[in-house]
Every structure is written in C-alpha cells, then in structure tokens.
C-alpha cells in the first residue's frame, strides 16, 4: 500500500486524513472522488487476505492493536480489542450494520443541540454507505446452527428477534469475521473505500504515525508524522480530518494542544460493554460454520440490553469458555454441540482516556445502572438458551453466584464499540466538535470516528460512523467548491 521508499520531508495536499478505518476511509474516498488532493496517514500496515489463516490465536497478534490485549482499568477491567491497519476495526468486526436508532438522533438534538443530525439529513448518507458496502440481511441458511439455537429460543419465548444486516458480498460463512475474512466477502473499508480513494488519486501511506496537528492563526496547517524507520513526514494541508479512533484521536489532539477548551476531550467514554454465555445442546451446532454474528434478539433493547450472535473456531471458544480444569476439557471435547450468544449493554457509565507515557490509559467503572442491566441480561440469556433446549448453560459467573447477585468486579466483560471521547455538542463549552464535526474554535480540523458520537447507540456503530463521515465529506466538498 505504501511505496517501497516512503516519502519523507514534506508533501502538499488539500486534505490530510489520519486513519484508514470506518471514518477516515470514507472521507478519503468521497473527497478524492470529488477531485480533492488527499493524503491518508495510517499507523498500521495493509493486510492482504492471503495472509489470513483462519487461526484466531495467530491472527490476533497481527490484526489487532497490542494483539487484542488492550484493557480498561476500573471495576471490572474490560478487554477492549481494536483493529490496526488499513480498514481499522472494520477489518476485524462482525460486520453488523445498524443505522442510528431514531430515538438516539432525537436525544442528540435535545441534549447536545445537534439539530443538523436528523433522519432526513442522514438518510442519503446511510443509503450511500449501505450501497457502497453491499449491506443486506443474512439468510437463515448462511446464519448457521448457532443462530438457529437462538432463534428457536426467542420464538418459544415470543421475544422480538431477527437476522442481522451485514456488509458482506459473496459470503460463504467462513466463521472467522473477527480474524480476517479469508474470502474477502466482508466489505471492510480496506477493500471498499480505500481502493476507491486510491483510484481517485489519494495517497495512502501506511506505517505513518501521526504525532501532531499543526495550527496557526486559528487554521489547520499541517500534520507531522513519524514513519517506520523513524523518518519525519510533514503533510501540509488546510483541512485535516482526524479519524484515529475513539481511543487515539483525543490523545493526538491533546498532544497537539487542540480540543481542550470544554474539558470533554478524552472524557465521556462509552463502550457498549458485553459478555457472552454458552449452551451445551443435544444437536450438532458447529458454531463456526456460518456467519458468527447473524442473529439478534432486541426484546429488551428499550432497557439497554441487546443480544447478538457470537461464535468462532475451537481455539477461540477454548479461550472464552468460563470453565477450568477437567470441566473445561470435557466441555471443549463437545465443541460441536456448543452454542454461544452475546449480551451487549447500552451503557450509561462513562470513562476517560488519557496519555500515560506513550500509551493510552483508559479508566472506566461500571455504574449501578449498568450492573443491573448485566444482571437482568444474564438471567434472560439463560432463559433464551433453556427455551432453545439447552442441556446445560455456562454463564461467565463465579461458581455459586447467580446473575442477580453478581458484582461488577465479578463480571467478565469485553467491549468493541468505544465512543464519545471528542463528543459533538453545539455548545463549545460542552463538546469538542460541533454538529458538522468541526473542532470548536479552530478552522480546518474535523473529526470522523466514534469519538464524536456523544452517547451510547445501543447498536453496533460502524454505519453511524460511516454516515457521519459521508456527511462531513459532503460538507467539505461544498466548502471547497465555494472557495
């Protein structure tokens, strides 16, 4: 992706985009296709599907930031795996596509003054993104045995549920979305928007660690990056789009002395914390044969509790199964009969990210309200599996502790949707960017990633991020046409 000899010194562009994930790739493609000179700086490498081995342990080390070991500090500590490279986390997510729920947009208008982000305004952006990514509903055949278990349970309980919409084309149910799609069926931004950006003349520079956004006289001037091998690169551009992700965007802005006025930079971190349970079934499930995240149960979405499918090959299950010793070995021997389903909470807890040394330090404590959601959710997850005919249910709880009595510290949580650390708010005293994703008080610096999303969504955020990025690109094109 990057030239054999990466550029050093200084290059000129109309727009410098930092990050090639859900937000950055979309902005880069839309702007380049409109004729702008675009340079994309991506910290990670380009991953080609030929290197995907369908072996989770091997792929974690290469596709994930810090090998997927990223964690929050707090009660409880939460594993926070993030993708790294061209495509960002879209390369390793499950591909689930939800539009921003209308109630959330309404809340943004009322609580954050984001009058611009209405359904009529965003619908064309959603449609454009969904078309670019071939978003469609998973078929029951492709969903596989794991989804069939959850569907049976939901139908017997009369719970609202359905097949998920995903960004996939020609999917054959390889079962390893989170570890690199070997068929390139998942339409991550590394094989959709980035090739479009390149074809339109954008330069994609991998191994480029953006260190500083330079601003003079209230206007963006340049981005300074460190290349692999230590060379320095300056990209001179009057417009900069920061899309380094919810954890790293606030750190880059803070290093640059930008975005600090409201005191919100790095704060307001929402995660959608999640956990998962297993069920031992009489039938052969073969959970990794099919789309891992293909079915959802939204009966309790209004309470902030969402169930979504999750599955993987034996080595992935071995790490996730909440058992040890002989019990672990015996249940693993029945892997083909195991089903798994996830529980995600639309959190009201908020955390903060800050720089400690050269690394992000993420503090997040689960509040009482979200703990209650997990207690209820785990009980409902058990009900779902039992209604489906589970012989045994394994919840991620200590021995002898029921869902209703679990403490925050006893929960085993992961999170995949960090949001909010440079939140949008119409008021410069209360937010980092405005409703057009422009940094308050500075011209030419914009943000296009999950950090601008001011509240939990309750659903997977990639389409929201991409739609907001599309809208930002349209606004920038309009601005450039005016000048």
């Amino acid at each position: 992706m990057s030239p054999a000899h990466p550029p050093s010194g200084a290059i000129e562009a109309d727009v410098c985009v930092i990050g090639a994930g859900a937000g950055g790739a979309v902005v880069a493609a839309e702007l380049a296709e409109a004729g702008a000179r675009v340079v994309v700086l991506e910290q990670g490498p380009h991953h080609h599907a030929d290197s995907f081995s369908a072996r989770p342990l091997q792929m974690m080390s290469t596709l994930y930031r810090d090998g997927g070991h990223g964690m929050t500090l707090g009660s409880p500590p939460i594993l926070l795996p993030l993708g790294r490279g061209v495509g960002g986390t879209t390369l390793v997510n499950s591909g689930t596509c939800f539009r921003t729920p209308p109630g959330i947009l309404e809340r943004w208008r009322e609580e954050y003054g984001l009058e611009q982000l209405t359904e009529p305004e965003l619908d064309p952006c959603f449609e454009r993104v969904e078309k670019a990514l071939s978003v469609a509903e998973v078929t029951p055949q492709l969903a596989g045995g794991n989804a069939a278990v959850a569907r049976r349970g939901a139908e017997r309980l009369g719970w609202s549920s359905g097949y998920l919409r995903r960004n996939a084309r020609g999917c054959v149910g390889s079962g390893v979305c989170a570890f690199g799609c070997p068929t390139s069926a998942k339409q991550h931004t590394g094989i959709t928007y980035i090739p479009r950006a390149k074809a339109a003349g954008a330069r994609i520079i991998t191994g480029a660690d953006a260190r500083h956004v330079a601003v003079a006289r209230g206007r963006a001037q340049a981005v300074h990056a460190r290349l692999e091998g230590g060379a320095h690169l300056e990209v001179r551009a009057a417009d900069v789009v920061v899309a380094a992700g919810t954890i790293h965007t606030p750190l880059l802005l803070a290093r640059s002395g930008l975005g600090g006025r409201s005191g919100e930079l790095g704060g307001n971190l929402a995660l959608h914390p999640a956990t998962a349970g297993f069920a031992l079934m009489d039938e052969i499930v073969d959970m990794a044969k099919g789309v891992p995240q293909s079915f959802y149960v939204d009966e309790f979405a209004a309470e902030g509790i969402m169930f979504e499918g999750v599955a993987g090959p034996p080595s992935y299950v071995a790490m996730s199964l909440p058992l040890s010793g002989q019990r672990h070995a015996k249940v693993m021997a029945r892997y083909r009969n195991l089903a798994q389903f996830g529980l995600m909470v639309s959190d009201s807890s908020r955390g903060r990210v800050r720089l400690q040394g050269a690394r992000p330090l993420i503090r997040y404590d689960l509040n009482a309200e979200d703990l209650r959601r997990f207690r209820v959710g785990l009980e409902r997850l058990r009900e779902l599996f039992q209604a489906a005919g589970a012989r045994e249910v394994f919840l991620p709880l200590p021995t002898g502790v029921s869902p209703g009595r679990v403490t925050a510290r006893q929960l085993k949580l992961m999170a995949f949707h960090p949001l909010g650390t440079a939140r949008a708010h119409a008021d410069p005293e209360r937010g980092v960017v405005d409703g057009n994703l422009a940094l308050h008080g500075v011209r030419g610096v914009h943000i296009a990633d999950g950090s601008v999303i001011p509240s939990s969504l309750g659903v997977n955020p990639q389409i929201t991020i991409m739609a907001l990025a599309t809208r930002l690109a349209f606004n920038l094109i309009e601005d450039q046409n005016k000048t």
Partner: protein
C-alpha cells in the same frame, strides 16, 4: 516463535510479563495447584493453554474445524471471482 508466544509478545506491559509468569506457573504441577485457588486465574491460564492446543490443526480437525480448508476455499473464491 510459537503462535502463543507471538500473541503474548504483542501484549503491552504489564500484561505481557504477567501472562508469561502465569503460564509458566500453569505448566508446572505445583504452580497449577497454586493457580487453582483462584477460579479467575485458573480459567485464564487454562483458556490460554487450551487455545494454543486447539490452534493445532489436528486438534481442531477432531472438533470439525479445518482452518486450512477454510482458507483454501477463500483463496479459490477470491481467485475465481477476482475478489481482493
């Protein structure tokens, strides 16, 4: 370097050192007894060692998972259909 070693090497400090120490304990009988006092640590180390075990093609195949066949099918589809 084994896949597990590479996985651990990718972790930031202090997780890297902590996990290596815990796995060193888990590989010794007396260490395993010690870890058994904490269900959380026992689950973590048993999970990691089992992950390494089931990453092996022969062990995974016994449970119906053939990573090589999955990637071969993927490669064939990409070549046949001109996918990236």
């Amino acid at each position: 370097m084994s896949d597990l070693d590479a996985f651990l090497a990718a972790a930031p400090q202090p997780q890297r050192s902590s996990l290596r120490m815990l796995l060193a304990l888990a590989r010794r009988p007396k260490g395993r007894l010690l870890l058994g006092r904490s269900a959380t640590l026992a689950q973590l180390t048993d999970g990691l060692l089992a992950m390494e075990h089931y990453e092996e093609p022969a062990a995974a195949k016994r449970l119906g998972w053939d990573a090589q066949a999955v990637t071969a099918r993927g490669r064939a589809l990409r070549r046949a259909e001109g996918r990236p």
